[in-house]
Amino acid sequence: MNALLEAQSVGHSYAGGQLGCEDVSFRLYPGEVLGVVGESGSGKSTLLGCLSGMIEPSQGSVRFDAGGQGLRDVFSLSEPERRLLMRTDWGIVRQNPRDGLRMNVSAGGNVGERLMAVGARNYTEIRGEALDWLTRVEIPSGRIDDLPRTFSGGMQQRVQIARILVSKPRLVFMDEPTGGLDVSVQARLLDLLRGLVRDLGVAAVVVTHDLAVVRLLSDRLMVMRQGRVVESGLTDQVLDDPQHPYSQLLVSSVLQA
């Protein structure tokens, strides 16, 4: 099978000189979920920015297979190509749903936007599809015309997920998708996400400090510390038998907590 996303020695430092991340390499295959864990400041968010085309890395390359044409450097794409990618093949689930939703547009409009962005012009069909997706993320159909601000945090996050999945992306980036939610809400959201990711066969990169999230969602895991990957492998393997002292500390601290 051909890789969907490939990172080669990706590194980035900020204008102020602070290190974001350094020398990260991996390949992600269609349908695969990669977890990236580390504490805040470990460079995982910078890495996510580099992978998702938001931050141009100062070293290395990020390549993506858009439409089965083989791997192409994300940053050598023209701006319109990259923007098209972001509203078709890619989706980014933000930690704060306010950053990923249009708060002044109804839930249905939010979900329908990506369809309209690629040329859908039949209102009934757009609405039908929006309704279908809202149902799949367990939003009651009667709330399709409500504004996201009238929804709870967990519901907002689910609308955001529907808004992204409606365009059937091949790769989804998630930045702390359960951050800021109550524990019970987190569990339900994770369950839902796991089901959707499996059903759709969508690949994902999930960045989180929460080991429970990656244990449930990801096939493979990378542990980051001070901008570098200190350990990587199958999720169960890394979590059950961590090799690097930092991974051991991370796993044990969660267990104790």
């Binding site: 430092s13 900020y14 204008a15 102020g16 000189g17």
Partner: protein, 364 residues
């Protein structure tokens, strides 16, 4: 009974006559001369010249008289006149280090080469209404003669610059053909010359409010008044047909340079950053505010967060011009009845639909 809301030419002419009469006011009171405006309302003249973007105290005085002291209206008059003037080219950059100084202060140093010169300022006056001014002729005081300060006074920011402590202005930008806001539309992202020209012409109240907001945490940039200097500078111009520089006159300006904090990057040593303000005549408030906003607008090039309105160049630059702003606000007075009719019909239609739905539901 129906009254036609239509105005003919005679109505417009009549309003012109009425306003002329109002402007003159009580004819038993002597008419205000533009020389009186120029001499006795100098700060108003300065503001109209600055925001009107034309250095001509006589025309600014005329505009103030014609506008009955309405500053935004006077600025508009001067701008509209300015449009009709031919443009010969851009002057050489003003060299304010060679300014013939009337006032010069620094808040960053106790003593500076050339000294602090208080000059004319309201800063230390007690704001008590001076009832003596009601009486004519009571104000013929003469200030002690100042010794002309011919000695050169280095700019504080240059002194810091020589030590490498002050971020230098971008040479390429200085040497490039300057943008001309009077001839070219604003474009985004805006270069520094576009930003400074815009802020120079920008409404004093708007720029002041934004500058003030930076001091209250909306885009804080840790300012110190490096130096404010006010006085006369020479304007030099190089006519293409001559090929050498000639002096075309002297203008009075106020310049403010703010010193702001900035920590360096991996590649650049830590140094202070600059906020720059300039205005025609004596306009300290405007130049200080301008310097604060200039610095706030540098946020993105310095890699700072842009979270607040004063750091958002589209927000600041698109709304600073009071001629544009006043025009667009006042255009709401123009008839909009075609659009209003459209909205009215729609609203009636929507209400009818809602009522008939209710009726249907009630019947079921």
């Amino acid at each position: 009974m129906y009254v036609a809301t239509k105005g003919g030419e005679s109505a417009i002419e009549a309003t012109h006559e009425l306003i002329a009469e109002e402007r003159r006011g009580d004819t038993t009171v002597p008419e205000l001369g533009t020389d009186q405006v120029r001499n006795q309302l100098g700060r108003a003249v300065d503001r109209v010249m600055t925001e009107g973007s034309l250095y001509d105290p006589d025309l600014a005085s005329l505009a103030i008289k014609q506008a009955q002291g309405d500053m935004v209206e006077a600025i508009f008059l001067l701008r509209a006149f300015r449009t009709t003037l031919p443009r010969f080219g851009a002057a050489e950059p003003l060299d304010t280090s060679k300014m013939i100084i009337r006032r010069r202060i620094s808040a960053a140093f106790k003593d500076i080469p050339g000294g602090q010169i208080l000059g004319p300022t309201y800063d230390y006056t007690h704001r008590l209404l001076d009832f003596d001014l009601v009486k004519e002729g009571a104000n013929a005081t003469s200030a002690p003669e100042a010794t002309a300060t011919e000695q050169t006074m280095p700019r504080v920011t240059d002194i810091l610059g020589a030590e490498g402590l002050m971020q230098a202005e971008n040479r390429e930008e200085i040497e490039a053909e300057p943008f001309d806001l009077g001839r070219q539309p604003m474009s985004f992202p805006a270069n520094r010359d576009q930003r400074l020209q815009n802020l120079f012409r920008g409404d004093e109240g708007f720029v002041l409010a934004l500058g003030y907001a930076t001091q209250r945490g909306y885009g804080r940039n840790h300012p110190f008044v490096g130096e404010i200097r006010m006085g006369f500078v020479e304007v030099e111009f190089t006519p293409p047909e001559l090929g050498f520089t000639i002096s075309i006159g002297e203008i009075e300006v106020t310049e403010c340079q703010m010193i702001n904090q900035f920590t360096g990057t991996k590649d650049i040593q830590p140094m202070f950053t600059r906020g720059y303000g300039l205005a025609f005549g004596q306009s300290e408030r405007k130049t200080m505010a301008m310097a604060l906003v200039d610095r706030a607008l540098k946020a993105s090039e310095l890699g700072e967060d842009r979270d607040h309105p004063p750091q958002d160049e589209e927000f600041v630059l698109a709304h600073s011009d009071n001629v544009e702003a006043a025009g667009f606000v006042s255009h709401l007075k123009l008839p909009h009845y075609v659009d209003f009719q459209s909205e009215l019909s729609l609203l009636r239609g929507l209400r009818e639909d809602a009522l008939s739905t209710q009726d249907k539901e009630a019947a079921e």
